[in-house]
C-alpha cells in the first residue's frame, strides 16, 4: 500500500521531469516557423503536452489543497481543449503545423506535427478528458473522503492527458514511444489506485501486457532504425520505399503487433476485459475512450504513411472480423455491465481496423469518423455506469433492476449512448457504420464483403447485448433474476454460506459476509411488490458505513458532465456533415502522404515520396 502510494506519488514527478527534458531539449523551447507559416499557430502545438505536464507538477505540489488541485487540473485541461480546437480550425486554413523542438533540424531532432488527423483526435480526446475530470472532481467532493490516496489522482491524470497528446502530436516513432510510455505509466497508477486486492490482480495483467507491447514497439523502433537510420515519420516513407520488400514487411508486422496489443485487436485483446472493469468508473471511462484509440491512431498513421502498399490488408481484414465477432460474443455472455461494455469496446475496435484495412479514402474517412464517435460514446457509457453503480450499488445485471423507475434520468443517459453504440439511425454510430459498409461494398472484394456482413451482425449483437443490459438493469423488477445466481454462488463458494443465510439480521463487518447479505436482503424485498423499486437500494444500504441517502442521491456535479458528454455524442450526429468532411480531408491527406512530408521536410523531400494511389496495386485502393 505505502509502497504503491509512495511510488505512485513519485512516478508522475519522475515522468514530468523526464518528459519535460524530452520535448524541450537543451536550448529550451525554441520555436521555429517553418515554410513561411505564421509564427503564432505553431506556437500552440506543444501546449497540449506542456500544459498538463506543468500542471501535473503544480497539482503534486498542491497535494494537500484539494480544491486548488482540482482547479489547476480543470484549468489545464480546459486550456488543452481550447488549444486543440483552435489548432483544428487553424489546420483547415493554414495547413499542417510543425514545431521542431529545441530548434534541431527535423531529421535529427524531435518534431511535433499537428495535421488534420492529429488535431481532430486531440480535440475529441481533450473534450472527453475534461468531462471525465469534472465528473471525478464531483465524485471526490460527494464522497468527501479525506486522506484517501486521491492526492496522486490529479497529477497522474494530467500526465496521462499529456501522454495522449504527445502520442497524437508526435512526428517521430521514438517520441510516439515516449508518449505511449507516459500514458501507460500514468494508467498503471490509475488502474491500481488504492491498491485493493482486485485491482492489484487486474493491474498485474494489464501492466505485464502493456510492458510486453512496449518492448515489442521498442524492438521494432530499433529494427526500423537499423534498416533506415532514422525514426522520423517524415523521413521514413522515402527510406522505407527504398528497402527490400521482405525487410519492410517484417518492420510492418513488428509495428502492427505492438500497436495491435495497445489497440486490443483480436488475438491480442484478451487483457482488456480482464483489467478495465475493476478500476474506478472515471478511470475506466477515460481508458476505454482514449487508450485503445491511441493504438488505433498509431495503426492509421503507420499504415498510411509508412506502409502504403497495404500488403497486410487481407490479414487486417480477417483480424478485424475476428475482433468484431469474438468481442461481441464475449459481451453477450457477460452478466456484469462493466465487463459487457469492455467487450463491446474490443468488438468495436474491429470496425476501425476494418476501415483501415479497406484502405480506400472512404474507408479511412469512415474509420476516423468512427474513432471520434466511439471515443465519445464509450466514455459516456462508462461514466453512466459509474452513476448506476452509485445509485444501485452494483453493476451486475443480477443485482440491478428497476433502475428506470428509480431514476428516469439515468435511464435516458444510459439509453441514448447505448443505442448510439449499437448504431440505431440516425445517431452517429449508424452513420459511421454505414460509411464503413459503403466503403466495403465499394471495394467489392470477397473479404470486404464478408466484413460488411460481419459488421452488420456485430451491430445487431451489440444491440442485443445493450438491450439485454437495459432490460435487466433498468426495466426488470429488482433482483428477480438474482436469486438463482446468488444461491448458486453460495453453493459453489463456501460452506459458511448457511451461517450467513441464517444470520441476516446481524450483518457482519467482514466483507464477504456483507456481500452475501446483499443477495439475501435483495431476496427479502422481492416478496414485497410495492418495495420492488427500492430493492436495488437495499443492497447498497447494507454497506455499513454509507447511509442509504448518500447512496441514492447522485450528485449533480457528476450528472452534469455525463449529460454533457451524452450531448456531445448527439452533437456528433448533428454535426456529422462538417465532421465527415474533416475526416475525409484528413483521409485524403493521409492517402497522399506528400502533405505530411512537405510540412516537415519541405517540398524537395515530398517530391521523392509517391502518393499511396501510385504505390498501391489499383487506383483508389491500396
Amino acid at each position: 500500500m505505502s509502497g504503491v502510494g509512495a511510488l505512485a506519488a513519485a512516478l508522475p514527478h519522475l515522468l514530468a521531469l523526464g518528459a519535460d527534458d524530452a520535448p524541450t531539449g537543451p536550448q529550451g523551447l525554441g520555436l521555429r516557423a517553418t515554410q513561411g507559416q505564421v509564427l503564432e499557430w505553431p506556437t500552440l502545438v506543444p501546449l497540449p503536452v506542456l500544459v498538463p505536464l506543468v500542471a501535473a507538477g503544480l497539482a503534486l505540489a498542491l497535494a494537500r489543497h484539494r480544491r486548488a488541485q482540482a482547479a489547476v487540473s480543470t484549468v489545464a485541461l480546459s486550456v488543452v481543449l481550447a488549444t486543440s480546437v483552435a489548432m483544428l480550425l487553424a489546420v483547415q486554413d493554414v495547413g499542417t503545423l510543425v514545431v521542431t523542438v529545441g530548434g534541431w533540424p527535423a531529421a535529427s531532432g524531435i518534431s511535433l506535427v499537428a495535421d488534420q488527423l492529429s488535431t481532430l483526435m486531440l480535440s475529441v480526446s481533450s473534450a472527453v478528458t475534461l468531462g471525465v475530470l469534472v465528473y471525478s472532481v464531483a465524485q471526490g467532493a460527494a464522497d468527501g473522503d479525506d486522506g484517501a490516496p486521491v492526492a496522486i489522482f490529479h497529477p497522474t491524470y494530467l500526465v496521462l492527458s499529456a501522454g495522449v497528446s504527445n502520442a497524437f502530436l508526435s512526428g517521430d516513432l521514438f517520441n510516439l514511444y515516449v508518449g505511449f510510455e507516459m500514458l501507460l505509466a500514468a494508467s498503471f497508477v490509475l488502474l491500481t489506485l488504492g491498491g485493493t486486492s482486485a485491482r492489484i490482480r487486474a493491474g498485474s495483467t494489464y501492466v505485464v501486457v502493456s510492458i510486453a507491447s512496449s518492448l515489442v514497439f521498442l524492438a521494432a523502433i530499433a529494427l526500423v532504425y537499423a534498416a533506415t537510420g532514422t525514426a522520423n515519420l517524415a523521413q521514413l516513407p522515402e527510406r522505407l520505399d527504398a528497402l527490400d520488400d521482405g525487410v519492410r514487411l517484417a518492420l510492418q508486422l513488428a509495428l502492427l503487433v505492438a500497436f495491435g496489443i495497445k489497440a486490443a485487436v483480436f488475438p491480442l485483446s484478451a487483457w482488456l476485459p480482464d483489467s478495465y472493469p475493476t478500476a474506478p468508473a472515471p478511470v475506466t471511462a477515460v481508458f476505454a475512450g482514449l487508450l485503445t484509440k491511441v493504438g488505433v491512431y498509431a495503426i492509421i498513421r503507420t499504415q498510411t504513411l509508412l506502409f502504403p502498399e497495404g500488403r497486410l490488408d487481407d490479414l487486417l481484414l480477417v483480424v478485424a472480423l475476428a475482433t468484431m465477432v469474438v468481442g461481441i460474443l464475449g459481451a453477450v455472455a457477460q452478466s456484469d455491465v462493466k465487463r459487457l461494455l469492455s467487450f463491446t469496446l474490443v468488438s468495436h475496435i474491429g470496425y476501425m481496423v476494418f476501415g483501415i484495412a479497406v484502405g480506400s479514402v472512404a474507408g479511412l474517412a469512415s474509420a476516423i469518423f468512427y474513432v471520434v464517435h466511439h471515443i465519445t460514446v464509450q466514455t459516456t457509457l462508462f461514466l453512466v455506469l459509474g452513476l448506476v453503480e452509485r445509485r444501485g450499488g452494483s453493476t451486475s445485471m443480477d443485482h440491478l433492476g428497476g433502475m428506470a423507475k428509480l431514476s428516469p434520468l439515468l435511464g435516458v443517459l444510459f439509453f441514448v449512448p447505448a443505442m448510439n453504440l449499437a448504431g440505431i439511425p440516425p445517431l452517429s454510430g449508424f452513420l459511421g457504420k454505414v460509411g464503413l459498409i459503403q466503403a466495403g461494398v465499394a471495394d467489392g472484394g470477397v473479404l470486404p464483403l464478408v466484413l460488411v456482413g460481419g459488421s452488420v451482425v456485430t451491430s445487431l449483437l451489440t444491440l442485443y447485448a445493450v438491450a439485454k443490459a437495459w432490460n435487466r438493469a433498468f426495466w426488470s423488477r429488482p433482483a428477480t433474476v438474482g436469486r438463482e445466481e446468488e444461491t448458486r454462488s453460495d453453493d459453489d463458494e463456501a460452506p459458511d454460506a448457511a451461517t450467513t443465510l441464517s444470520g441476516v439480521g446481524e450483518v457482519s463487518q467482514r466483507q464477504d459476509a456483507v456481500e452475501r447479505a446483499q443477495g439475501v436482503s435483495a431476496l427479502a424485498t422481492e416478496e414485497d411488490d410495492e418495495a420492488a423499486a427500492a430493492g436495488a437500494l437495499t443492497g447498497a444500504a447494507v454497506d455499513p458505513e454509507r447511509t442509504p441517502v448518500e447512496m441514492t442521491r447522485v450528485p449533480r456535479g457528476m450528472v452534469a458532465p455525463t449529460a454533457a458528454l451524452v450531448a456531445l455524442g448527439l452533437s456528433l450526429t448533428v454535426l456529422a456533415g462538417p465532421l465527415l468532411r474533416v475526416a475525409e480531408d484528413s483521409a485524403l491527406e493521409l492517402d497522399q502522404r506528400q502533405p505530411y512530408v512537405r510540412a516537415v521536410l519541405g517540398q524537395a523531400a515530398a517530391d521523392r515520396v509517391a502518393p499511396t494511389t501510385q504505390v498501391g496495386p489499383a487506383g483508389g485502393s491500396r
Binding site: M1, L14, A148, F174, T487, D492, E515, G539
Partner: protein
Amino acid sequence: MSPALVLVAVVFVLVATGVYLVLERSLTRVLVGVILMSNGINVLFLVASGAAGEPALVGSAEPARMSDPLPQAMVLTAIVITLGLTAFLLAMAYRSWQLHGHDEVQDDVEDRQVRGRAVRDETSGSYDPDDEEAPVEERSEDRRRAHASPSPRDPSPHDRAPDDGPRRAAQRREEGP
C-alpha cells in the same frame, strides 16, 4: 555496415530468457524477465547504431568516424522508462504479497463465473436450476483456489468473493474519484 555477431547473440540470449520468465505466473519472475528483455532490446539499439566509433563530441573527432549518437540517446530514454516501470512492478509484486501471501497473478473471478455458467449450460433456455450438476473439477478447482492463499494480514481475500456492490462501495471509499 556489418552488425557485431557477439551483440546479436547477447540480444538473442537476453530476450529469449526474458520471454521465458515473463510467461511465469509469479510477478517477481515476470519482473526479472522484463528487465532481461528490455536490456536485450537496448543492446539491439547498439547493434542498430552500427560499428563503434569515436565519441560523438564536437571537435574530438571527424564526424565520419564518430558513433551514431541518436540510438544512444534513445537507449538512455528507454533505460529511464524501464527503471520507472520496474519500480512500479516491484511495488505491485510487494503489494500482492502483502495481500495474498504470494505474488502470483490470479484468474479473474468474473471470468471464472462466466465460464462456470457456460459449463453448467446455465445460459441456455433449457436450463433448470434443480437438476444442476456442476462438473466436479470446476468446483474443486474453485475451492482449491479459494483456500490456496490464506493471508495473515487480510482475513477476507476479495478475489474469491463474487463481484458485488458493497465491496465496490467500500473500495470507493478508499479510492476517491
